[in-house]
Amino acid sequence: MAIKFEQVNYLYPSFDGSNFSALENIDLEISEKGEFITLIGETGSGKSTLVQHMNALLRPATGSVTIYGIKIQKNTNKNKKIKLNPLRQKVGLVFQFPEYQLFEETVLKDIIFGPKNFGVKEDVAIERAKEVIKLVGLTEEYLERSPFNLSGGEKKRVSIAGILAMEPDILVLDEPTSGLDPKGRDALLELFTEIHKKLDKTVIIITHDMNTVYKYATRVLVMHDSELVFDGNASELFKSENIVKWNLDLPDIIEITNQLEKKLDISFNTKPHNVDELFKLMKGVL
């Protein structure tokens, strides 16, 4: 197991002395290879807080998170012998808002910032930057531009490139496709699928788009009111009655199928994943 949560609770302190509980009793295991996980849940349910535990940015208030054999607990940072920094190279986390990390004069410098912090030689890092900038759908010309004059979507891509260049073992992305056009979104998702399939790495994506969940995920996690309420595969999730309670909705294709079944008064024995499958199912009954 690459990452293991055991009874994790997390509290955000607030000024009036009370605490806001953002995670409650989370138990979770994530393997190093071969998973494509989507993490969903309504706004404020604790998704971002959860993923920030995965590379030891936040420490649990109670319980523990074990990342590559290193156990992170409430007072782990007091002990200087435990080095948390290497964990952040292994588990690369792309933040929800790119504004929080871009700071260099050029996109190139910003992308090589991460790798250099982890001891990669500058020329190697530059080579990587040239590769990843293309992977995220931008051209090499962008490397010389200032990260502050980019559009929102371009900033997002640059911030993803900055993490990809660190070559993490596990890639965690907090809403990587928000604010992107449909084509750019699909291209990025294909990229993550490729990273997942070709390099056999685990990819974890936070998203609000059920189509993405249904199309790509091998495993779905659902957060609701600071708790992890579902851990399983997508088909199972979308059959569940709790969808409404958790403020989720159905992917378009399932919605269409349900409507068809109702209007035509038929029922299919499976739910299709794409239009072709639906077409086959239709042919079968007609």
Binding site: D16, F95, Q101, F103, N117
Partner: protein
Amino acid sequence: MKNIIVGQYVPGKSFLYKMDPRSKILALGILMVSAFVFKDITHIIYMLFGVLLILKIGGIPIMRIARGLRPIMILLLFTFSFQVMFIKTGDVVLETVLTLTYINLGLMVLIILGWYFTRTYIKSRFLFLIFVILGILTMLSLFTPGITISSSNFVVYEDGLLGASFIMVRLIIIVTLSTILTLTTKPTDLNLGLEKILRPLNIVKINSEEIALIISIALRYIPTLLDEANKIMLAQASRGVDFSEGKIKDKVMQIISLLVPMFIISFKRSDDLANAMEARSFIPGNPRSRIHILAWENRDTIVIIFCIVVLISTIAVRVFL
């Protein structure tokens, strides 16, 4: 970061919350002047007790204020040491010769190294630092074997000690009083109160509304910016910036990686704020109506009279005692 509580409103129910912001600001002003009128250590300590009493009646936990004072501890320590070192009048409290020899120089280096490596394990680091400094001074005066490198007289005078404590207490009082104001007054109320109080400045063509607005926006954004700073630190930490350690060269890089996004975000925030205000038809200088009308009540008058009495008595104490 979370310790900085100046400028942060915390909801509550005590009489401090029910008071009119105008009377609170006025009372703060009057009490601050009183704190400056006092010249004597015993009197200012009485005043400190008075302030503690206000906290008690107002239902504000003293620990919260103490936490808020932590960031200015270093400042307090500096003023205290300078006062003690440079005021050379009054009775001599302590006179000793500080002698630096090769042996205790070595010991001193060892102690400092020891402090450096153990400080992260100690809970109240500040007390630990003071303890170490006092320890070194004691050693320099009492334990002086070996060849002398240099020696100097170290004399503490009564006036120095008293003056230092005096200034420290005064600083604590001032910070506590201002914290009480911002802790118990909503930014919007504070804004309105300031505006009303600064109204007389309109005669000399200074727009009190704008000043009040600037001040209240600045106060309002302190906690927001701290929050942003925290988020940026997390984002940079996930790219391998280790804020807890690093050589000087790395430190510079770390600070740049924090400050640049900080600036960008604050500019963007103020731009957004300006747009949002404009979108709601805010025009600087135009007369505006208010939802909340400030109501001056009897308790406000009583508080102000009380504060004025305090001020008059402090002046009396200063003049006649």
